[in-house]
């Protein structure tokens, strides 16, 4: 019986209808696979495209479609290709590509209606697999859109008189109705961590970012990258640009050219802090390293964060995933004394400094005055002498510090920081280079800071006896606008444009901020909604165990379904019903006088009959009847008329 039925359906499909369905299905499958092009091996994608195009041609030239043997050969070729690319079928990449290849092969053998359904469902899986790679709000919107097309295909297959626009509209309505349930399930359904195997055997994306060493010139690679590193939302006031130093790795060891981290034995001592704390939430983008860039100086933080001896925060979580951390920092701090090991590390020099350098230090009273005097002298030296800030400095030779100080005098943060620290050490002042990020753009819409790779920075830290480690930024001496006004001088110098004051530019900037604010909230509330934040969120409603959760889920979904059903069944008839309801009120008032409308009696005839009985109310009866007729049978009745009918019936006294 069932077989008979399906054969009947296939036979009933008209050729041109069949063609439309095929075009619909193939287009939507093409759309769904398209974004995978970014992470698929080009050979596999090409193979899929070949199959899709073949099937497309097959719509018009049926006899061009491959036979069973050719499909078998193509399948073996596909398997070979996949194995060649991935050495297996496990893992996210291989699994996704397997699905896509299988989908392409399945397209070639669409014959019955069942095949159409199967391909459609496969396409839904491929659509979902896109989320394994990208979870941005734009991608989500795109996938939702393509799902709408896929649903429209299903609508198309199932409707007798299908129209493209009509099918799309139905699909959009279905998605619209499904969204509240999806939201409810998203919030309530127990969340599980992605199984490890899904990340198995996959290629890692190479990311740019700060490295754990620094050479003069190394940070300039980042200065043009707009890539987001992290975002920060402050609970209270936002610190001024001069205070926004986001602490990264501390580099103490140098070979004269390259600065690297060293380990020194030092029990971590809590800095003594004064003033008010900045409380904030950091949302780190996926990174290569497990560094968390906190505002100088981070004091309060919780596991999985920990602080190393350079006061830098690191996390135990995988940096590959976006993560959120709550931290409190103080701008005024005193780290106190240092021990021998730390002192040695902070005064290490690669060799005896040259006479020229010693002469400079002596000239700036490096050897015969207090440390802070020397610091000011040196900063002043940078300021008054012919030093320049540039992102495209000349190439440094063997001794970069010396050639920078005496020859080229062109450089950016890493040149200044390394030269500054070097000279400090020559004068026996403990000093070190700190790398990290500086500044960040305030998003006025969402009131959060965005820190990009271009904000990468290097500065110096000097140990003073009474104050502990003190931050000194020599770049601020030479290019104060880089620090104070939070203008990204780097990018501007490179691109050679000034911030424009035109309204269009202003508007564009605001639109960009709005969009990034939306994106930030999407990341925070949707992508980062994990096991932990779910339980936090749900316990606020008193949901603490699975059983309560299940009850809640059932109740919420039942409520949404009930609302949707109510809309479907009652909304359309509503307006017309209202008119009748009001008129019935009028009829009830008349019924007290024994005046009841007969089954087949129109309201006009009824009114004529009533008027004979109630002649003194003839005007009101006529008015009510006229407005009712206009509302019920008229061409263009308005809401005003309904209101008028309501008032008239309300005032009518029988």
């Amino acid at each position: 019986m069932k077989i008979f039925g399906s054969v009947g359906v296939v036979l009933m499909m008209k050729p041109e209808l069949d063609k439309n369905i095929a075009i619909f299905l193939l287009s939507s499958i093409g759309l769904i696979v398209l974004p995978h092009v970014y992470h698929m091996p080009i050979a596999v994608f090409g193979f899929f495209c070949l199959l899709l195009v073949w099937r497309f041609i097959g719509i018009w030239k049926q006899h061009w479609l491959p036979g069973k043997l050719v499909i078998l050969l193509l399948t073996s070729f596909g398997i070979a290709l996949l194995y060649n690319q991935h050495q297996g079928i496990f893992g996210r990449d291989a699994g996704t590509n397997l699905f896509i290849t299988a989908l392409g092969l399945k397209l070639l053998e669409i014959k019955t209606e069942r095949d159409l359904y199967l391909s459609n469902y496969l396409a839904f899986i491929v659509a979902a697999s896109q989320f394994l790679y990208e979870q941005s709000i734009l991608m989500a919107a795109y996938i939702l859109l393509v799902c709408c097309v896929l649903l429209a295909t299903l609508v198309y297959i199932n409707s007798s008189k299908a129209k493209t626009l009509g099918a799309l509209k139905s699909a959009a309505i279905i998605i619209g109705q499904a969204l509240p349930i999806a939201v409810a399930l998203f919030i309530l359904f127990p969340r599980v961590d992605a199984p490890r195997w899904m990340l198995f055997n996959d290629t890692h994306q190479a990311r740019v970012g700060l490295s754990d060493s620094m050479e003069p010139g190394s940070i300039s690679d980042l200065s043009m990258s707009d890539e987001l590193v992290f975002r920060v939302k402050f609970d209270g006031a936002v610190p001024t640009p001069q205070q926004r130093y986001w602490r990264g790795p501390v580099l103490s060891h140098t070979d004269g050219k390259r600065w690297t981290q060293t380990t020194f034995n030092k029990p971590l001592r809590r800095p003594v802090v004064t003033g008010t704390a900045y409380q904030y939430t950091i949302l780190m983008e996926p990174q290569d390293k497990n560094w968390v860039f906190a505002l100088d100086m981070p004091i309060v933080f919780a596991s999985p964060l920990s602080q190393n001896s350079g006061y830098q925060l690191t996390t135990l979580n995988s940096p590959e995933q976006r993560a959120e951390y709550k931290v409190s920092s103080y701008a005024d701090y005193n780290t106190g004394p240092i021990n021998r090991s730390e002192y040695n590390a902070a005064t290490q020099l690669p060799g005896e400094p040259s006479d020229k350098i010693k002469q400079l230090v002596a000239q700036l009273h490096g050897f015969d005055s207090a440390a802070d005097t020397f610091i000011n002298q040196l900063l002043n030296h940078f300021r008054v002498e012919d030093f320049h800030y540039t992102l495209t400095p000349p190439v440094m030779d063997e001794n970069p510090v010396e050639s920078f100080l005496f020859k080229t005098r062109y450089g950016f943060c890493s040149h200044y920081a390394s030269a500054f620290v070097y000279l400090m050490r020559v004068a026996h002042v403990p000093a070190r280079v700190v790398t990290g990020y500086q500044g960040g753009e305030l998003n006025k819409v969402g009131d959060f800071l965005e820190i990009r790779q271009a904000d990468a920075h290097a500065w110096a830290e000097v140990w003073l006896e009474s104050r502990g480690w003190v931050r000194v930024d020599p770049t601020a001496a030479i290019a104060p606008e880089r620090i104070e006004r939070n203008i990204n001088l780097n990018r501007q110098t490179v691109y050679g444009f000034e911030a424009k004051n035109s309204p269009a530019y202003h508007w564009l900037r605001q639109a960009g901020q709005l969009w990034r604010s939306v994106d930030y909230n999407w990341q925070r509330w949707v992508i980062n909604y994990d096991n932990k934040s779910q339980s936090n969120f749900l316990s606020a409603f008193g949901i603490n165990d699975l059983k309560t959760l299940a009850y809640w889920m059932i109740v919420v979904i039942a409520a949404i379904t009930a609302v949707l059903c109510w809309f479907m069944f009652y909304r359309k008839a509503n307006a017309a019903d209202k008119v009748l309801m009001i008129y019935n009120r009028f009829s009830k008032k008349l019924a007290k006088h024994g005046l009841v409308r007969n089954t087949g009696e129109g309201v006009k005839d009824f009114a004529a009959r009533v008027k004979i009985k109630l002649p003194e109310q003839a005007t009101e009866i006529d008015q009510i009847t006229a407005v009712f007729i206009k509302l019920r049978y008229g061409r263009n009745a308005s809401g005003e008329d309904l209101q008028r009918l309501k008032t008239l019936v309300g005032l009518f006294k029988a």
Partner: protein
């Protein structure tokens, strides 16, 4: 336009005494571009009604008296050999007029009847392979004697369907009959009537009638009526979709005559007897009685 309709009805009612509803229905039928069938015994004013309407509307009027020996060519016209030009020439018959009164249509044989009915439906005539269009506007008012009289060929249901309405005139009441007896000859009065609604205006009204609004609620009622006729045991067979369309068209014209731009259930009810009576029970002339169960049972919401 409404004024012209009003005056036209007034003038007609001065000729046809005591039959305002029938006169109104007859005009309604013309405004809805329908053909009219008047069924009654001889001498109650069928011909006078047709003549009056033709006069008031300024239409070319021709009467065809149907007899048992009338032939299609007597109605449609024929090709006659012209000896001067040595060719056949078409001589149009009496049907080539704007208003045709087919008197006593059921006395003619079915062959002659169908010749007229085909012309009514197609609004054109085909003779010897050539097609001649009929004038615009084109109305047929047919009269019919009750079929129980001797020497009649009753029209089959399928052909009755071509008439939008069937009305019965009936005897005049006492007062009207007295007026009739006292007054002048109806024929003379008819001759002196002025044109109240010239054809161009009539066509404009016919166009306006099609624009009258029909709401969903009204369609519900209309469909309920049709469904009732099909389900009820009262009727041998129910109203066809064409009958449903006819009902709506007539109701639109009725609403227009009542100076409304939307149809209400009362309009449907007013034309129901005339439109549905002959379609539901051909042999019976009591249309009001035929549709009484519909009015009583189909609820107006």
């Amino acid at each position: 336009m409404q004024n012209a309709i009003h005056q036209l009805l007034d003038s007609a009612n001065q000729i046809i005494l005591g039959k305002p509803h029938q006169v109104r229905l007859a005009l309604c039928c013309l405004l809805a571009r329908g053909h009219l069938l008047i069924e009654d015994i001889p001498g109650v004013g069928k011909t006078t009604l047709a003549h009056t309407l033709a006069k008031l509307l300024g239409l070319h009027y021709q009467r065809i008296q149907f007899t048992s020996d009338i032939l299609p060519a007597d109605i449609l016209g024929a090709c006659v050999f012209d000896t001067k030009n040595h060719e056949f020439k078409f001589h149009p018959g009496p049907v080539f007029n704007q208003m045709v009164l087919a008197d006593e249509i059921n006395r003619a044989t079915p062959k002659a009847q169908s010749a007229l009915l085909e012309a009514m439906e197609e609004r054109q005539v085909t003779v010897e392979g050539k097609t001649y269009p009929l004038p615009q506007p084109f109305f047929v008012i047919a009269t019919q004697n009750p079929s129980h009289q001797i020497g009649t060929f009753p029209l089959p249901e399928s052909q009755l369907d071509r008439f939008l309405m069937r009305i019965e005139l009936g005897y005049p009441d006492h007062h009207a009959e007295r007026q009739l007896l006292i007054g002048q000859s109806r024929h003379k009065l008819c001759e002196s009537l002025p044109v109240q609604l010239p054809p161009e205006q009539l066509q404009a009204i016919q166009q306006a009638v099609t624009q009258v609004y029909v709401s969903d609620a009204l369609l519900d009622y209309c469909q309920a009526i049709i469904k009732f006729t099909r389900d009820s045991s009262e009727y041998h067979c129910g109203l066809s979709p064409r009958a449903g369309l006819a009902l709506l068209t007539a109701a639109k014209a009725w609403a227009f005559m009542d100076q409304r731009d939307a149809v209400i259930p009362e309009d449907l009810q007013a034309v129901l007897a005339a439109v549905a009576g002959h379609r539901l029970r051909a042999g019976n002339t009591q249309s009001e009685a035929i549709i009484a169960p519909i009015l009583a049972n189909v609820a107006v919401h």
